[in-house]
Amino acid sequence: MVIDDKLLSKLEELSHLKVAPEKREEIKEELSNILNFVENLNQLDTDGLPDKFSMRDTYSHLRDDNIEVDKNIGKSVVENSPKYQDSSFVVPRIV
């Protein structure tokens, strides 16, 4: 798999981050090398195996339907955010 400019731009968009212009060539090569390596999995026969892997199927816990909230946690999360007002996060204007 070769990561070209177009695909890297798509991945940047999906990842919500930009690669610095001077690092683009390097990162395209690194990502291509990584993907070429992991394609060795195609040498393994996996026909008939399930699509999803779970460590164990016994992990879904049931509990009583009670509300358990530590309100202080929510409060300090907001107060420790980069910008807040009252009990809300402040973000750049959207509309």
Partner: protein, 444 residues
């Protein structure tokens, strides 16, 4: 350095002296850069905490620029358990940024040194946790292991590092990297201390939906180094390791035989496939887990012209190169058109790995394996990301299959330690610790 077992026996009034002495030692070996800071929280035997485990009111940053300014609003479950058992978090340990690395070179706070050779890496990602214990500046520490991040630095620093069965230790309060792989575990001076700390942090936790709700019997009071086991060695694995590692492996096999254990020979599928299944899975999970760092709720923000621009600027400036690489690859393997060929394929391969381990465990109680293919390498030696990934070849299949494993020092080459790992059956930690204790005593 006093052991954890000894420290737990100290009268309460001795603990302030112990902490003073510890601070002095840390100051004397400041150049290790194992500690990001010397935060304290509560009374108790001081335990060093990796910078991705939440301690209430501490700045907890996963050694990343993007989390500068973040203050943890709660204790991770493992921290609550430490407090309940007479221990207290003491100091934040350096690590690779978001636990992505095998050398602690990707930390925002700079590299941590190997306590036995300052030109070499301490391993990673829990490099600070292992370097501090190996360098005599921590009694014990907590690390996290997604693909070897406890065992490999423990091996590089000459200490004991243990990764519990997936689900055994609560992940509540551990910054998520690869959620289906991550486990918190102890890094200690010896096997018994490892069992003590493991007992304290283990057990079912309703706050972690992947926590295993099964019976738990404490290990420490039941430790028995005289138990004899059938231990499998994976002949085709070891051929890829350096001569020093192979020699230490052979020597250890002879020691285990002398101790009365039975060695049996097994084969595994080439570990190059483990690397692929691991990195696809870990990067996919990381790309989702790290989507939350957008400058709105946590840590630092770089203001942009609009909301989207703020996300982009915050993440572009806040994440280091390795983290960016993994997010980009993670989004690639999950993206439409490539999902089946990469992500789904890797999940199918996890079944193959798990099946292979089950087959071996039909005949064996434990598996002996190298931890790292080489001795601790020098700083800057692995420049290519793929070279660094290949150094995890012996540790990652354990995470892919969710097994428990313990790395312990078995030999020295000059001033450099060699660690090997024992791997156990799921939730069979008692036999894992027994085997490790037997080997540790046999090596004395």
């Amino acid at each position: 350095m006093i052991t954890l077992k000894e420290a737990l026996k100290l009268p309460k009034e001795e603990l302030p002296h112990l902490k003073q002495d510890l601070k002095k030692r840390i100051e004397e070996k400041k150049e290790l850069n194992a500690y990001i800071s010397l935060d304290e929280s509560g009374d108790g035997v001081p335990i060093l905490i990796k910078d991705n485990i939440q301690v209430k009111n501490w700045s907890v940053t996963s050694a990343s620029k993007i989390l500068q300014g973040y203050i943890s609003p709660y204790d991770a479950t493992v921290i609550t358990k430490l407090r309940e058992n007479g221990l207290a978090p003491f100091g934040r340990a350096n690590m690779d940024e978001f636990a992505m690395g095998s050398s602690t070179e990707t930390s925002y706070y700079g590299k941590t040194l190997n306590p036995h050779d300052y030109e070499r890496v301490p391993g990673g990602s829990s490099g600070g946790s292992a370097s501090a214990v190996g360098g005599g500046v921590a009694i014990a520490s907590l690390g996290s292991d997604t693909g070897g991040s406890i065992r490999q630095p423990a091996s590089f620093c000459g200490v004991v590092g243990m990764k519990p069965t997936y689900g055994r230790v609560s992940r509540y309060g551990l910054s998520a990297y690869g959620s289906s792989l991550d486990q918190i575990g102890p890094i200690t001076q010896n096997v018994e201390d490892s069992a003590i700390l493991y007992d304290i942090i283990s057990g079912y936790d309703p706050k972690d939906s992947t926590s295993a709700d099964i019976e738990y019997s404490p290990i420490t009071p039941n430790l028995n180094p005289n138990q004899k086991y059938r231990i499998a060695v994976i002949d085709n694995y070891v051929k890829d390791a350096s001569t020093e590692i192979q020699q230490a492996y052979e020597k250890t096999i002879r020691t285990l035989e002398k101790l009365g254990h039975t060695i049996i020979h097994k084969e595994m599928t080439d570990a190059k496939y483990d690397i692929s299944a691991y990195y696809i899975t870990a990067m996919a999970e990381a790309s989702s887990n790290l989507a939350r760092y957008d400058g709105i709720r946590y840590g630092s923000r770089v203001e942009g012209e609009n909301l989207k621009d703020t996300y982009f600027r915050t993440r572009s400036e806040g994440f280091g190169d390795e983290v960016k690489r993994r997010i980009l690859v993670g989004n690639f393997v999950l993206s439409s058109g490539y999902y089946d060929a990469y992500y789904v394929k890797a999940q199918k391969v996890r079944y193959l790995i798990q099946q292979k381990y089950s087959e071996i465990f039909q005949d064996a109680d434990l598996i002996l394996s190298p931890v790292s293919p080489t001795l601790p390498f020098k700083f800057g030696e692995k420049k290519e990301p793929l070279d660094m990934y290949l150094s995890d070849i012996y540790t990652i299949s354990v995470n892919l299959a969710g097994l428990p494993a313990i790395s312990l020092p078995v030999d020295w080459v000059g001033n450099l330690p060699v660690g090997l790992q024992l791997i156990g059956k799921p939730f069979d930690e008692l036999n894992l610790f027994n085997g490790a204790l037997s080997l540790e005593q046999g090596l004395k």
